[in-house]
Structure formats: structure tokens, C-alpha cells
């Protein structure tokens, strides 16, 4: 059963057609990758799902609900969490605080209760903390718990951002280039994590990735995108062998 379904989505920025009549669907429990050259519109697809952009046409359905009825801040409540291509963390806060913001959609207490820090707020805080600690254990972030983001190396920030998304307890995880800028070892870690996220946590993953090694090792389905339109879709092997994809990547004449 498909968890996320996108039909005939189109988005133009002035004259640029960033997403062109695109349809695809992601099944519950699978890892789905979007690949394509720079400027193909991959991040734009994510921003459409996050409701940062309003599509000109098309339908977006998540678990039977119309995504277009939601505002950007109501998407998290459905159980959709994401990371950003250019890491968007809260730089002047600690790793722990960043992860706790991931719990925001689960908060139950009101402003007045929080002002007086009632017993209920304390109980909730401890519950949030326990959820976040599970993520910290899963991603081996223990040494960085109380460190400010502003002083952390790039590779760790990428992991923290993944952690923040996981802390929200999502059903669908959107990862925008999770391995870009990572070393070979870090990419290897990312690969195990994505595998475990799907297998142990049962979270569906939709990711944008350039590293074909990573894509073919963890993904079930791949969508190749060029100029905002679908080029090919299928298993990693099928897509890699597709003549249209080869042409887009290697240029005309190479085939």
C-alpha cells in the first residue's frame, strides 16, 4: 500500500519548470531514492512534500490524507520528518536541545504550565528525554550530547540532523543527500543506519542521493529525475542500465 503518492505535480519558478508533471509513489516500509543531476528538481520535490512550496498543479497524498490541505508546520504532525541538503540545525543550541525540538510535535503542555514548570511539564520532559536518548544511543551521539552545534564538525552535524528527524518519531523520513560531504567511513555508517531505520524502526525512507553505491545498497526503488521530469523508475539495477539515464549522466554520444 503506498504511503506517499504524488500525481502530476508541476512547479514553475518564473520560466524555470523545476518539477514537471511528476508522478511517483512510495510504499510503506521501503527505501526510495531520487537521483538526478544538479538542478534536476530533487530538493524541490522535498520542499513540495514539506509544503514550503505550493505546486501549480498535482495532488499529494500521504496515508490517504491530502497533503495540500496542510500548512508547512502541520506536516510534521502527520509523521513526516526531514533533513536538509545544507544542514539546517539550531546552531546556538546544544545537540540535546536540537534533538528535543524534534519532539515538538508531541508536546502536550500549555504556556502557563511551562511558565510554572508544573509536575506534568517535568514528567513530559523526562519522557521526551527518554525518547531522545534512544536516538542518541542509536546514532552514537553520546560524546556530543551537551556540545553546541556551532562548534561541531560537518559529519557530526549531518548525524545530528538525522537524529532530530528521528526524534520526532516519523512514519516517513525525507533525507536530502544524507551522504554528501561525508567520508567513506561516515557514508558506511549512514548506510547501516538507513538500513536499521527501515528494518528495526519500520520507518519508510525517501532520499535524494548522488552516491550510487549507497543507493544501490540500501534502496528498493529508484526514481531518476532530469529537468524536473521522470526519466526512469525501477530497481537500482534497472535504473542504472536505463539508456535515458546513461545519456543524461554521461551526455549524448556516450551510449
Amino acid at each position: 500500500m503506498s504511503l506517499l503518492q504524488i500525481k502530476d505535480a508541476t512547479l514553475k519558478f518564473g520560466g524555470v519548470v523545476a518539477v514537471n508533471n511528476l508522478s511517483f509513489s512510495v510504499n510503506e516500509g521501503e527505501v526510495y531514492a531520487i537521483v538526478g543531476p544538479n538542478g534536476a528538481g530533487k530538493s524541490t520535490v522535498f520542499n513540495l512534500i514539506s509544503r514550503f512550496y505550493q505546486p501549480h498543479s498535482g495532488s499529494f497524498t500521504f496515508d490517504g490524507q491530502d497533503l495540500l490541505q496542510r500548512k508547512a508546520d502541520q506536516v510534521a504532525d502527520l509523521g513526516i520528518a526531514r533533513t536538509f541538503q545544507n544542514i539546517e540545525l539550531f546552531d546556538h543550541a546544544t545537540v540535546l536541545q536540537n534533538l528535543l525540538v524534534g519532539r515538538h510535535r508531541h508536546r502536550k503542555t500549555s504556556l502557563v504550565e511551562e511558565l510554572f514548570f508544573t509536575a506534568r511539564v517535568r514528567r513530559e520532559e523526562i519522557a521526551h528525554r527518554e525518547a531522545v536518548e534512544e536516538v542518541i544511543d542509536f546514532l552514537d551521539l553520546q560524546p556530543y550530547r551537551d556540545k553546541m552545534i556551532a562548534g561541531l564538525p560537518y559529519g557530526i552535524r549531518k548525524v545530528v540532523e538525522l537524529g532530530r528527524a528521528l526524534a520526532s518519531g516519523p512514519r516517513l523520513l525525507l533525507l536530502d543527500e544524507p551522504a554528501s560531504g561525508l567520508s567513506v567511513e561516515e557514508t558506511q555508517d549512514m548506510r547501516w543506519w538507513i538500513d536499521d531505520i527501515r528494518k528495526q524502526m519500520g520507518i519508510t525512507v525517501l532520499m535524494v542521493e548522488h552516491d550510487m553505491g549507497l543507493v544501490s545498497s540500501v534502496c528498493d526503488q529508484v526514481l531518476a529525475l532530469a529537468d524536473g521530469a521522470k526519466l526512469a523508475e525501477g530497481t537500482p539495477a534497472q535504473v542504472q542500465a536505463d539508456p535515458a539515464v546513461l545519456e543524461a549522466y554521461l551526455g549524448a554520444g556516450a551510449v
Binding site: 514550503f52 545544507n86 515538538h104 510535535r105 504556556l111 532530530r164
Partner: protein, 361 residues
């Protein structure tokens, strides 16, 4: 070196992380309690002034330091707090109700004004809020029947359960009142910092895009920040009215707004300590300057704009050399001692932050 050993999640949640910190702040509070025994009435008045500025600083800090929204309109909220407290008492409400209510009213007005204002960002927001400071003056004059207009008003007498408090004749009682409000405001601030709303404030400050993706409603969160900030500012305003002894349309001017903003930048944005450090500077700078001026030039020489000039200069120096403010400087000194002799010269060099290109907005 001091080593923290945490054994429960409560260790990170409770007000004082460990016994040492509890001891330090306990001692500080105890000192504040016995201070009237140690100082004469004049200096108690000065300390009261510092505390009032610190409350106002906490108010603006919540908005600017915590949520990242600049306001040059907070003098207007000081005025709303001051006038509504006085008017409520004149209407017959006891101080113990009128005072909290004055803050709540200021907070509600602030949250309503915030709805259109907070659609603006950065410098545009600063300019829009300047208008607030300027408008407040005119509105106070226009509302003459309630506010006394240009001729102003005297703050209404404080009576708490039969106990009278007056700033001039009973400075010690007034000091304890201000101290109580300071402690309550500081506790509110701390409580916010350790709950979801405080984290949402920081999230909005650092990245609106990812805050939204985490389910934070940006405008609503900013409005809450503005409202809470104005509530604390309103209380500070009411106390300022008592401290000044009389007030009119010119008491809460744009200069006060600017001073407040400078104060929290010099003290250190984003921290409770910063509000207090900044308040000490603001409250004592005029005295220090006049003593210095007297020593250098002899008495009787007036230099117009000296205070403002020196203040501006200090601000520029801080922004250039210590953007973390006095509190940042203090942290560095403390860490140096805690790590002694392992501190290295480049430890605090700021890390290059990664370029954020292609941002969503």
C-alpha cells in the same frame, strides 16, 4: 577541575545542575536578602535600580536573545505596564492584583501588536518597532483623561495586605518588593528555557525553515515570545514608575528602548546573566562617568551627549571584540580557571561556520 557526574535525566532538568551551583546562587540570594543591613539607603536605591533594569532586560532578552526578534519599541511596553498598574490601583484594585494584571495586560497588547509586526524581519522589524516607541508618546498625550497627558502622574501607593511600601521613605521595603519580582521573572525565564516553548524560541531564532519542518508554528511562537517579553517588560515599567516617583509622556522615550537593547547586547545576548550584567553597566555608567569627568575636568563642566556617546562606543567595542557580551567574557575566564593549567590560547577561537547557500528563503 570540577567533574559533573549525572545519574538521572532530572539532573539536566532541575534548576540548579549540581550542589555547587546551588550553593553559589543560594549565597547570592542570601546576600541580596541581607544587603539592606550592609548598605545605606542611597546604595540600596542604586541596587534597586539595577534590579529594575535587569527585569526589563530579561523581558527584552526573551524576545531578542532567545527568539532572535529585535525590538526598539519596548519603552512603549514599559509605559503600558506603568500606566495600567497606576490606573488599575486608582480604580480601586489592590496592588497585589493590579501589578500582576498590569503585566498580563501589557503582554496581551504586545502579542496583538506582534501579529502584524512580526511578519517583518531583522532591520525592518527594528524600524517598525521604533514607530511604537514614538507613537507611545503621542498616545499618552491623546489619552489625557486617563494618563494625565503632559503633566503626568504619580504612581499609586503600594499596599500589600496592609503593609505600605514607598520608594523614597521606605527604600528597603521597596527593594524587597523589586527583589521578589526579579526572582519570579528569573524563575519564569528559567522555566521557559527548560520546556518545549523555550526550545521553540531558540529554534525560530536559529532556523525558521527547520523549525517549521519540526512542526513549530513560526508566527504563533513569535507572538508568544513577544507577549511573554512584554509581560515582564510591563512589570519592569510599573516598578520604574515607582522608582522615578513621577512619570509623563516623555519618561518612556525611544532613548530608553535603545538603552535596553544596548544593555542586553553588552551583557550578552541569549542568557539570563547577560540581562543582569548589562543592568549593572546601565545603572552605574552615569555615576562612573560623572566621577571620572569630575576628576579630569573639575566639577561644573557639562558635556552634552557624553553618556550616550560612551555607551555607543562600548557597544561598538563589544560587537567587534566580544560579541558574546560580558557574560561570554565571564564564561571564558571561568573556564580558564576550571581547566587550569590546561587552557589554551586558541580554545575560544570561533569555528568557521559552514556556508549556508541555496537556503529556502
Amino acid at each position: 577541575m570540577r567533574i559533573l557526574f549525572k545519574t538521572s535525566y532530572n539532573d539536566d532538568i532541575r534548576l540548579f545542575p549540581d550542589r555547587w551551583v546551588l550553593l553559589v546562587y543560594g549565597a547570592l540570594l542570601a546576600l541580596a536578602f541581607v544587603l539592606p543591613l550592609l548598605l545605606d539607603a542611597f546604595y540600596i536605591g542604586e541596587v534597586t535600580n539595577v534590579l529594575i533594569w535587569a527585569i526589563a532586560g530579561l523581558g527584552l532578552m526573551l524576545l531578542t536573545g532567545q527568539t532572535g526578534q529585535v525590538s526598539l519599541g519596548h519603552a512603549a511596553f514599559l509605559a503600558i505596564g506603568c500606566y495600567s498598574n497606576t490606573i488599575l490601583i486608582e480604580m480601586g484594585l489592590p496592588f497585589i492584583l493590579a501589578f500582576p494584571l498590569a503585566g498580563v495586560i501589557t503582554g496581551i497588547v504586545g502579542a496583538i501588536i506582534a501579529i502584524p509586526a512580526l511578519r517583518l524581519h531583522g532591520i525592518y522589524l527594528a524600524i517598525a518597532t521604533i514607530a511604537l516607541s514614538v507613537l507611545a508618546d503621542d498616545i499618552i498625550v491623546l489619552l489625557d483623561p486617563w494618563t494625565g497627558g503632559v503633566s503626568g502622574k504619580f504612581p499609586a501607593m503600594i499596599t500589600i495586605f496592609g503593609l505600605q511600601i514607598e520608594r523614597w521613605t521606605m527604600p528597603v521595603r521597596f527593594y524587597y518588593l523589586v527583589l521578589g519580582v526579579t526572582v519570579i521573572c528569573t524563575l519564569f525565564y528559567r522555566n521557559l528555557l527548560r520546556s518545549p516553548l523555550g526550545r521553540a524560541f531558540a529554534a525560530v531564532r536559529d532556523s525558521e525553515v527547520s523549525a517549521t519542518a519540526m512542526g513549530v508554528h513560526i508566527l504563533r511562537t513569535k507572538c508568544k515570545a513577544f507577549g511573554l517579553s512584554c509581560m515582564i517588560t510591563g512589570w519592569a515599567g510599573a516598578l520604574m514608575g515607582y522608582y522615578a516617583g513621577a512619570f509623563n509622556n516623555e519618561t518612556f522615550s525611544l532613548v530608553i528602548s535603545i538603552t535596553l537593547l544596548m544593555m542586553i547586547v553588552i551583557g550578552g545576548l541569549g542568557s539570563i546573566h547577560g540581562a543582569f550584567f548589562g543592568a549593572v553597566v546601565v545603572a552605574f555608567l552615569p555615576q562612573v562617568l560623572s566621577i571620572l569627568k569630575g576628576a579630569v575636568l573639575g566639577g561644573g563642566v557639562a558635556i552634552p551627549g557624553l553618556e550616550t556617546g560612551v555607551f555607543g562606543m562600548i557597544l561598538i567595542l563589544f560587537i567587534l571584540f566580544e560579541p558574546m557580551g560580558l557574560y561570554g567574557r565571564w564564561l571564558k575566564i571561568r573556564i580558564w580557571f576550571e581547566l587550569f593549567p590546561f587552557a589554551r590560547k586558541d580554545m575560544f577561537r570561533r569555528q568557521k561556520s559552514y556556508l549556508k547557500t541555496e537556503r529556502l528563503r
